[in-house]
């Protein structure tokens, strides 16, 4: 369907300018998590352009983006790299077998599950769901902080929800069915 990985990325909103990259590394230098990456943002662009799709999508580096948009605002060539990270995560998520980090998969699953179902989020519930999906021992780790939040009145145990759940679920499902483009 696509000639190569570059044209695949370019077909999504935000991915258009990837061919303009001059490999200056401003993205990496602006990124607060690139120090922990095997493939820095600039290298990910190189890998995309070298058509190394599996290497990129299997890399955990794409899940290290904090969405701070520093790379995007500073890129001298107008590349929206934060958006490209989102595109890469979307593609990797669709090919879930490639997701090795259980923490990441568990958290994203828990969050998305709650939103698709009820349309609103409650951090306490999210943490519980996340812990059960990954490792229930985590609950113990979160417990001291959870207690503090509870004492300060900053934890809600009711399950918040939009009133028109049917509508919300329908539009989320329709969007899901369209393949997420």
């Amino acid at each position: 369907m696509f000639k190569d990985f570059t044209s695949e990325i370019m077909s999504y909103p935000g991915g258009e300018k990837i061919t303009a990259c001059m490999q200056c590394g401003t993205c990496t230098g602006s990124c607060p998590t690139s120090h922990a990456m095997q493939y820095t943002p600039r290298r990910l662009i190189s890998l995309i352009r070298a058509n190394q799709r599996d290497t990129v999508l299997q890399s955990l580096d794409i899940w290290k983006c904090a969405s701070c948009y520093s790379c995007t605002t500073r890129c001298p060539r107008g590349i929206k790299f934060t958006d490209i990270m989102y595109i890469l995560k979307n593609l990797a998520w669709k090919e879930q077998s490639k997701m090795e980090n259980k923490n990441i998969a568990g958290f994203y699953n828990a969050f998305q599950g709650l939103i698709e179902k009820r349309g609103r989020m409650n951090e306490a519930e999210l943490i519980m769901k996340y812990s059960f999906q990954t490792n229930p021992v985590k609950l113990l780790e979160f417990a001291p902080l959870g207690m503090k939040m509870l004492l300060k009145g900053r934890a809600a145990f009711s399950a918040p929800s939009v009133r028109n759940q049917v509508q919300l679920q329908k539009i989320m499902k329709l969007a899901q069915e369209r393949g997420g483009e």
């Binding site: 200056c24 590394g25 401003t26 990496t28 602006s30 990456m37 820095t40």
Partner: protein, 650 residues
């Protein structure tokens, strides 16, 4: 049926046109039109044999109109006009159909291209029948030149025109000439001292009998046209009588504002008085009084210590601005550049961290007559042990300027050498690509590499201060690693930008600017010195960022253009111009506002608009805008255009 005899010539332009357009077919089809007595296609119509073919046909077959289907008329219309004239036909009885830029270069569809080419040629045939012979006019020229801007390229241009024996008015906005080069210490790639090579030229300007120098001056109005400009210049008061001032500097020492005003010439690294000598080698070497900071001029309250200190009695607070008017044949614009303000990229900490400086500040620091007497020092007075140079700050960046500023790679390498030479600190160069393209440049880069400078391929992303130390954050792209490199000093090598008043100057002179904001040349490759306005030439960084060798070369080129006009003694004026039917003109003045060339004026007596045909470029904007249809453009009149449209649509 009219009784014209039209020759149509279809050029292949090698495969440029014929590779897409079926030239033979276009020729065959157009030959079927009754009045087309000759239709031929040929590989290169602009070549000598091509032109000979047209000339012979005109003579032998008695052609009275010629259509050439080829490239843009911008390229070869003059060529073919001369061919027509060589065969005794008026050059304006020619029409060109652009089947290259408008057809073959913009599509790959051969069939559609051939169709479009044919209709364009048909339009040209219809139009050419209505062409009228027009005679070109010549006007005598004034043999003087005005050079605007006293930096290195303006100086070069002025000296060259003056040496050829002609009068030059050199206008400089600042109180001294020398421009940015006067602030430099060493110049790449040979490391000669800037003052050593520039000062003699500055002195020559001051002493040349043919150069009238006006500092603290600006052009406020330009009237006229090539060969006959009238330029109005405003000279601001300096409050110093130049004939008396000896440049001794006693006023500066006496001024009570001494050491209180950031000195522009030192890029803010030193403080000066309100009365001061700009720098020791300044031309003219005369004191200046800064009217924005002088207590007497701003508040009328001062002990006037300067007046008492001046033995020559040269200070005169009663000076006023002077307006000068010069008649000149041509104008050379050499207004230079502005340095990108690094505060616009706050991530680099300029203005926030004391030891983050820009390139010009570093130049002043290394200059023996500069604020630190040539010592590279940190804000606390100590020598740095490590220095970073960040390239491309404000250049090659969509957020600021897309273009490459051309000089920064080399000046950065020069900075590295000077650091090594002065204090042997570690130097880190953060670059995207090394662009060392000039004569002797790559060799210089090589030499500095061997001096042990660290070249880090990656654009500096941020300058932070961690534990009291500056840290440059960048990706070392050759390592593929995020790096934080601690240094004592950071030099931001910032972009060269169009001057802040570029738009005002462009409007005053009636010239255009290109997308990057610099003044626009007539042709980026083949005519980089001429503007789109005849008789106004460009030199140096006002046209695009340039290093010293290129600025000097362009200064000389502009001088040659100016001298060529003087040598000819007259200039040809395009005969295509607009004219106003005063019977129909309602005096609404719409055309006056529309005319970019300021060729139209209202006759205050008749209250009708009048066009100065010598200034008019024949662009037609006024004709299109005239609500009463009173304006007619020769060679582009309604009948001709309608016939062309009819032909194209037929």
């Amino acid at each position: 049926m009219s009784d014209h005899k039209i020759g149509v010539y279809v050029c292949h332009c090698g495969s440029n046109i014929n590779g897409v357009v079926n030239c033979a077919k276009v020729t065959e089809e157009i030959g079927k039109i009754g009045e087309v007595v000759v239709a031929k296609d040929y590989k290169y119509m602009c070549s000598d044999p091509g032109q000979e073919m047209i000339k012979n046909d005109i003579k032998e077959k008695g052609l009275d109109r010629v259509v050439i289907a080829a490239c843009s008329p911008r390229m070869h219309e003059p060529t073919f006009r001369r061919a027509l004239e060589g065969a005794g036909l008026n050059g304006y009885l020619l029409e060109m159909a652009n089947i290259r830029e408008h057809v073959s270069w913009v599509t790959k569809d051969k069939e559609e291209a051939t169709k479009k080419a044919l209709s364009l040629v048909k339009g040209a045939v219809k139009r050419v029948k209505l062409h009228e012979p027009i005679e070109e006019r010549e006007v005598p020229v004034t043999n003087t030149t005005l050079v605007l801007g006293g930096g290195i390229s303006g100086i070069q241009a002025a000296l060259q025109v003056a040496e050829a024996g002609h009068k030059v008015y050199l206008i400089e906005q600042k109180q001294y000439i020398g421009g940015n080069m006067a602030k430099f210490d060493k110049t790449f790639p040979t490391l000669d001292c800037a003052a050593c090579i520039l000062t003699p030229k500055m002195v020559d300007v001051g002493q040349s009998p043919n150069i009238e120098l006006y500092t603290s001056s600006e052009v406020i109005k330009v009237d006229g046209y090539v060969g006959n400009f009238t330029v109005t210049v405003r000279e601001k008061p300096r409050y110093i009588n130049h004939d008396k001032c000896t440049g001794c500097g006693d006023c500066a020492s006496a001024c009570i504002m001494k050491n209180r005003i950031p000195h522009e010439f030192d890029e803010g690294l030193s403080k000066r008085s309100a009365a001061y000598i700009p720098f020791p080698q300044a031309v003219p070497l005369k004191a200046v009084i800064d009217d924005g900071n002088c207590l007497f001029l701003t508040r009328k309250k001062c002990t006037l210590a300067c007046v008492k200190a001046c033995g020559a009695k040269a200070i005169n607070f009663n000076q006023h601005e002077t307006i000068h008017e010069f008649k000149v044949g041509s104008i050379i614009l050499a207004t230079g550049f502005d340095l990108f303000d690094a505060k616009r990229a706050p991530q680099y900490g300029y203005g926030r961290y004391a030891n983050v400086i820009n390139g010009l500040q570093f130049e002043r620091m290394t200059n023996a007559s500069g604020p630190t007497s040539g010592h590279i020092t940190l804000a606390d007075g100590t020598e740095p042990k490590s220095v970073a140079v960040i390239h491309c700050v404000g250049s090659r960046d969509e957020n600021y300027n897309k273009y490459c500023s051309r000089v920064c790679c080399m000046s950065s390498v020069k900075f590295a050498h000077l650091v090594k030479d002065h204090c042997d600190a570690e130097v880190y160069e953060f670059y995207i690509d090394m662009r060392t393209f000039g004569k002797g440049y790559e060799e210089f880069y090589n030499r500095v590499q061997e001096e042990g400078v660290h070249f880090v391929r990656g654009k500096g992303a941020e300058v932070a201060q961690i534990d009291g130390r500056l840290v440059v954050i960048a990706e070392d792209t050759l390592l593929g690693q995020y790096r934080e490199i601690p240094v004592d000093m950071v030099i931001l090598n910032t972009a060269l930008e169009p001057r802040v008043d570029a738009e005002k100057v462009a409007q005053t002179l009636g010239i255009s600017r290109s997308g990057d904001g610099f003044f626009m040349e007539s042709h980026i490759k083949l005519d980089p010195v001429t503007t789109t306005t005849d008789g106004i030439y460009l030199a140096g960084c006002c046209q695009s960022p340039k290093d010293i060798p290129d600025s000097v070369a362009q200064g000389s080129a502009a001088a040659a253009q100016s001298l060529a006009i003087i040598a000819t003694g007259k200039v040809k004026i395009s005969p295509i111009s607009a004219s106003i039917d005063s019977e129909q003109c309602a005096g609404c003045r719409i055309c006056i506002g529309l005319c970019t060339y300021r060729a139209i004026k209202l006759n205050e007596e008749t209250l009708r608009a009048e066009i100065n045909e010598a200034v008019c470029k024949g662009c037609g904007t006024c004709a299109a805008g005239c609500p009463s249809g009173a304006i007619r453009v020769s060679h582009f009149n309604d009948d001709q255009l309608l016939a062309q449209i009819e032909g194209v649509l037929a």
